[in-house]
Structure formats: structure tokens, C-alpha cells
């Protein structure tokens, strides 16, 4: 089958802009005429590479900003100012750090497993970036509109744990190995509540396609977090489990500085270390983006049909808000012990998740279609539930000693 220009244009428009005035076709006709003479498969490859290039160019900028944001947020929470020297208000600090890391010695432990040691950061990096392929950034800004989108994300993000174990094993260091083991235990445990929370969404939406899930959430009251009281609970279970999944405080046992030096990447230096670092922040953005997509309406605006620039700004704002909450939690809560971590997952999150699935199943039977009535009932139950919980348990708790803010400042 010969590669046709029309096909390329359609393909491009499918990927990027599903608009009536097909600018992609005009762009191809005017600027890349040589593509028309290529064989079909090569043309498809070129389109894939173009999409890849854009994402590989844009997505690593996110960690660049997020690292700085993390440092600034942590600084201001501690009444400091954070990096200030490189660029205005330290905006280029991360870039400077990256350049510094490029010139650092790339040390590989002699007793370690060299192949695995070299491979590990790339596996983590690649899998954390592959997640972005299925996240809908806007109405038409999506690399691959998979019909099993959320399943793909779950699967590909689980590969990260393999990279972590490889890094820990190959380093031939007790700190690394302990960190990797902890990480494996933690990631495997917290996959379950995440999967079960996503299952509640899938049960309600009857689809695994990310784009379809988002399209059904038009308007603030249609966001899945408010669709039923069970998804409201599922959101928090999902979000907290996500924090554990990306190894952030209070669940940062795999890289606990005070215990394990730096956990699984203790022995890494230079650019390999930077890859871990970038992957960590890319992961953070990815899980926030998934939470925003599944529960907070993705690129859909507050009002139905109102989405500026294909909904990209709204989506980014929602995601960055969740990222900020992650940072906020990190600089508030101390690290959990291993037994507390496992306790939280197995004794609390998993039973709650199963309860959610049961509840959502019943909810789906009672309200097969989402109507105004069902949403109002759901909101009423959420509000009454919160008030009720406070009424029942609030009294006993408020007597317990509560840490007060220090008056010094």
C-alpha cells in the first residue's frame, strides 16, 4: 500500500488536532512535500518520531521546573528563600545543577553488576516517560488514544520497580539493596489500592480509554470525584497511594536519607543520578496527571464545554495543584516506619478500596445513568458523611494534644 499524503494528514490530525480546518494537511502539503513519496510504514514511523521528539523535548522540562518548585516551596515553608543566585530568583538553578552533573565523574562500582548498573536508570527513565504517551493533555493533545489507556499506564509504570531493584542489586551496596527491597515491597503493595481505586472509575465509566473518561466529565458536578461518594473516597486512596508509588515523603523509605544514605541510587553519580532524579519528578507529574484525569475532570473545565486552548491550561493547573499538594505533604509529615507503611496499605487502603468497589457496584445498579438526581444525592451524601464523621469522632480527638505552631517568628 503506497503511502498517501491524505493518510498522513489524517493521521497527524488524529494525533494532534481534531479540528475541522485540518491545518495539518496544509502544513504537510506546503512544508514537507517529500513525505508524500515515502513508503507507508516509513511515513508512519516518521509521524511517530515527530510525536516522540515533541514529547522528549517538552516533558523533561517539567522536572526542570518541578525541582525548582519543590525547592522553593520547601524553602518558603521553612521561612527561607531557596535558590536565588542562578538567574532571576534562582530560576536557572536546576539547569546549572544539570550541567554540573553532566561533567561529574561517572563512577561504576567495580564489584557491581556493570550491565544492570548501566541499564537501570534507563529503564526507570523510559518507563516513567512512556506513561505520558497515554495521558490526554487536552481535547486533542494526546500522543496515543489507546482503548486500554489506563491499563497501559498501570502496566508501564509498574516497570519502574524493576529498574529500582536492578539499580539496588547492581550497586553491590547494602544501602542500595535495602532501599531496593523496601521499594519493591512498597510499590507492589501500593499497586493494589491504586488498581482498585482505578477500578471504581472503570466500573462507573465502562471504559479504559482515557480520552473517553475525560469526555464524560464535563462540568464541575460531573467530575468523577463528585459522581458518587465512593469515588470521593477512592480519590484520596488513589492520591495517597500515588505518593507512596513515587516514593515521596512520608513514604520515602526506599531513599530514606537518615537510614539508607540515598537508597537504591546511593552508588550512582553524574548523569545517571540525574536520570533517576528527573524520572522521580516526571513520575510525580505523571501520577498527578492521572489523578487529575480520572477524578478531577482532566482537561474539562469547570463549566461544560468551556475549555480554553483545548483544555491544556486547565489540565496543567489541576495537575500542578496536585503536585503542590504532594510537596506540601512532603514538607509537613515525617517518614513512616516500614510496619506503619505496610499497616496503612494492607489494613486500611485495601479494605477501603474493596468497600469502594462494592459501593460503586451498588451505586451503578441504582443509578445506571448519571442524572442530576444522582449527582445531587452523591454531593449530599459526601457533605453529610464529612459532617457525620466529624460529629462522631471529632469530640474525642479534639481533646488529644495537638501540636501547635511555634509562636517564634
Amino acid at each position: 500500500m503506497p503511502f498517501s499524503l491524505q493518510y498522513l494528514a489524517n493521521h497527524l490530525s488524529q494525533f494532534w488536532v481534531q479540528t475541522s480546518e485540518n491545518w495539518a494537511q496544509r502544513f504537510v502539503e506546503n512544508h514537507v512535500p517529500f513525505l508524500g513519496h515515502l513508503p507507508y510504514s516509513l511515513g508512519e514511523l516518521i509521524i511517530m518520531l515527530m510525536c516522540c521528539a515533541i514529547f522528549v523535548a517538552v516533558v523533561p522540562l517539567l522536572p526542570l521546573g518541578l525541582v525548582l518548585a519543590e525547592r522553593k516551596v520547601s524553602a518558603h515553608i521553612q521561612d527561607r528563600v531557596g535558590p536565588m543566585r542562578v538567574g532571576p530568583h534562582g530560576t536557572l538553578q536546576t539547569l546549572a545543577d544539570g550541567i554540573k552533573l553532566l561533567f561529574k565523574e561517572d563512577y561504576i562500582p567495580k564489584q557491581g553488576d556493570k550491565l544492570l548498573f548501566i541499564l537501570a536508570p534507563y529503564i526507570i527513565f523510559a518507563s516513567s516517560f512512556a506513561v505520558f504517551a497515554a495521558i490526554p493533555f487536552g481535547r486533542s493533545i494526546l500522543v496515543s488514544d489507546l482503548n486500554i489507556g489506563i491499563f497501559y499506564i498501570m502496566a508501564i509504570s509498574s516497570i519502574i520497580v524493576m529498574g529500582v531493584i536492578m539499580a539496588g542489586w547492581a550497586s553491590n551496596s547494602k544501602w542500595s539493596l535495602l532501599g531496593a527491597m523496601r521499594s519493591a515491597a512498597q510499590l507492589v503493595s501500593y499497586e493494589i489500592p491504586i488498581g482498585l481505586s482505578i477500578l471504581t472509575i472503570i466500573m462507573l465509566m465502562q471504559t479504559l480509554n482515557m480520552q473517553e473518561i475525560v469526555e464524560k466529565q464535563d462540568g464541575l458536578w460531573n467530575w468523577l470525584i463528585f459522581r458518587s461518594p465512593f469515588t470521593f473516597i477512592a480519590f484520596f486512596v488513589f492520591f495517597i497511594s500515588s505518593i507512596a508509588e513515587v516514593n515521596r515523603t512520608p513514604f520515602d523509605l526506599p531513599e530514606a536519607e537518615s537510614e539508607l544514605v540515598a537508597g537504591f541510587h546511593t552508588e550512582y553519580s553524574g548523569m545517571r543520578f540525574a536520570l533517576f532524579f528527573i524520572a522521580e519528578y516526571a513520575n510525580m507529574f505523571a501520577v498527578s496527571a492521572i489523578a487529575a484525569t480520572l477524578f478531577l475532570g482532566g482537561w474539562q473545565g469547570i463549566l461544560p464545554g468551556v475549555d480554553i486552548l483545548g483544555g491544556l491550561p486547565g489540565f496543567v493547573i489541576k495537575t500542578l495543584f496536585l503536585v503542590f499538594v504532594m510537596m506540601w505533604i512532603r514538607w509537613t509529615l515525617p517518614r513512616l516506619r516500614v510496619d506503619q507503611l505496610m499497616n496503612l496499605c494492607w489494613k486500611y487502603f485495601i479494605p477501603i478500596s474493596f468497600f469502594n468497589i462494592l459501593g460503586v457496584g451498588i451505586w451503578g445498579l441504582i443509578f445506571p445513568e448519571d442524572t442530576l438526581v444522582s449527582i445531587v444525592i452523591s454531593l449530599v451524601i459526601i457533605v453529610l458523611g464529612l459532617i457525620g464523621v466529624f460529629a462522631v469522632f471529632g469530640k474525642g480527638v479534639s481533646k488529644a494534644p495537638v501540636p501547635q505552631a511555634s509562636s517564634a517568628s
Partner: protein, 223 residues
């Protein structure tokens, strides 16, 4: 079961309490000084004034220094280096004078006309070194210190600020109170340099004696 739910409530509630505290801190202005670039400490919020008597950078009003070496001797870390040259016998750089310390923390050096004791509710007239006459009411005056006649040339008076430990002993023994510690934020703690040798402060001003030296040289030559 009730305990189970109470645990969940407690976990969420305590986390939210902590997050409320950190969010309050997030909105507060930071207390950091961008020190070498930012000298306007007074403008900063959340910063208290430095109390009077703060032991900041050492400062020597060299024209009042009589070269007695007391500070050099008492300094526990030997940060003061002094070289003096005695004047020929009978000569003096200038005669005994008075240092009038005002309550607004400035000084006037000169000869007081009349009584040198501080009497309340009187006017003090000072003839300063540069031939000016200043009149002050005694309300403004904190204290009057006699400055001994100067019989030394001070060729060198260096303080290595990187060695100084701010004990303040030198300022206590100084008979003319010319060696002081600056207690304001603006000048008292500004130390930033790119070279450690820049922290050796040279206070001696040999040009001050030039005329005198030439005169005495001529006198010696005449002899």
C-alpha cells in the same frame, strides 16, 4: 470497628492540622538576608534591631589614638598589629584634648573652654581641632573623656578582622575610647570580600604626620 474508623479520622485530622501549620508558614515572609547583595537590613520584616552595645566590627578613630599599645597587649588572639615611633623628647603631635561623647552617639573632639567637668544645665563651648567653635547644652552630652597628649607616630595600626573574636577587651582598655565596636547593622557586619587579605583593616594614616615629620626632620637637619 469504631477504633478502626477513629484511627482513620485521627490520621486524616492530624495530617490536616500539620498541613495547616505549614501552609501558614508558606505565606509568611522569609527571614533570609541575601547578605552580600542586600544591605538594607532595616527594611526587612521579622528582623529585630541590633541592641546598643552590640559588638560588631572594630573601628579606630586614628586621630585620637595615642599609641599606648594596651589593645595590642590585651588582645587574646593577637589580631591587632601596631608599630609606633616615639617623637623626639618634648615634642607632641598635639596637646591634651577632650572627647565629648554626645547622647546621639557621635563625638566632638576639641578643647573645652572653661570647666572640663560635666555640670548639669550649663552650656559647653568646644573649640575643635579644625578651629571651629561648637556650643552644646549639657543635656546633649553623655560624658567627657580626656584625651592624652600624643607623643607617638602611629606607622601601623592593622586589625585582622578574620582573627578578631569580638571579645571587646581592646575597647575596654582603650584610654581615649578611640577603639570602638560598631553597633549598627549597616556598617557593623559588612565583611564580604573575595580576598582574605582584604579583611586586614589598615587604620594607620601616615599622611596625618607628614607635615610634623617633615618639620621634625628639618629640625633634626638643623641640629
Amino acid at each position: 470497628m469504631r477504633q478502626y474508623l477513629a484511627n482513620i479520622y485521627l490520621g486524616v485530622y492530624t495530617a490536616l492540622v500539620g498541613m495547616r501549620i505549614t501552609f501558614k508558614q508558606l505565606l509568611q515572609p522569609s527571614v533570609t538576608h541575601q547578605y552580600p547583595y542586600e544591605h538594607s537590613f532595616e527594611k526587612k520584616k521579622n528582623v529585630r534591631d541590633i541592641p546598643k552595645g552590640y559588638r560588631g566590627k572594630l573601628d579606630n578613630r586614628i586621630e585620637d589614638c595615642i599609641g599606648c599599645r594596651k589593645c595590642e597587649i590585651i588582645c587574646p588572639v593577637d589580631c591587632i598589629t601596631m608599630t609606633t615611633r616615639k617623637l623626639p623628647k618634648g615634642e607632641r603631635l598635639w596637646d591634651s584634648m577632650s572627647v565629648v561623647h554626645l547622647k546621639d552617639r557621635t563625638e566632638i573632639v576639641g578643647n573645652i573652654e572653661g570647666d572640663e567637668k560635666l555640670v548639669p544645665d550649663t552650656t559647653i563651648t568646644i573649640k575643635t581641632r579644625d578651629e571651629r567653635t561648637v556650643s552644646l547644652s549639657s543635656e546633649e552630652v553623655d560624658r567627657i573623656v580626656e584625651r592624652k597628649p600624643v607623643i607617638f607616630y602611629l606607622d601601623q595600626f592593622d586589625i585582622d578582622m578574620s582573627l578578631c573574636m569580638y571579645c571587646g577587651l581592646c575597647t575596654e582598655v582603650c584610654p581615649t575610647e578611640c577603639l570602638t565596636m560598631i553597633d549598627n547593622l549597616k556598617d557593623g557586619i559588612a565583611y564580604s570580600t573575595f580576598d582574605r587579605t582584604d579583611l586586614i583593616y589598615l587604620f594607620a594614616a601616615p599622611e596625618m604626620y607628614d607635615q610634623q615629620t617633615e618639620a621634625s626632620d628639618e629640625a633634626e637637619a638643623a641640629d
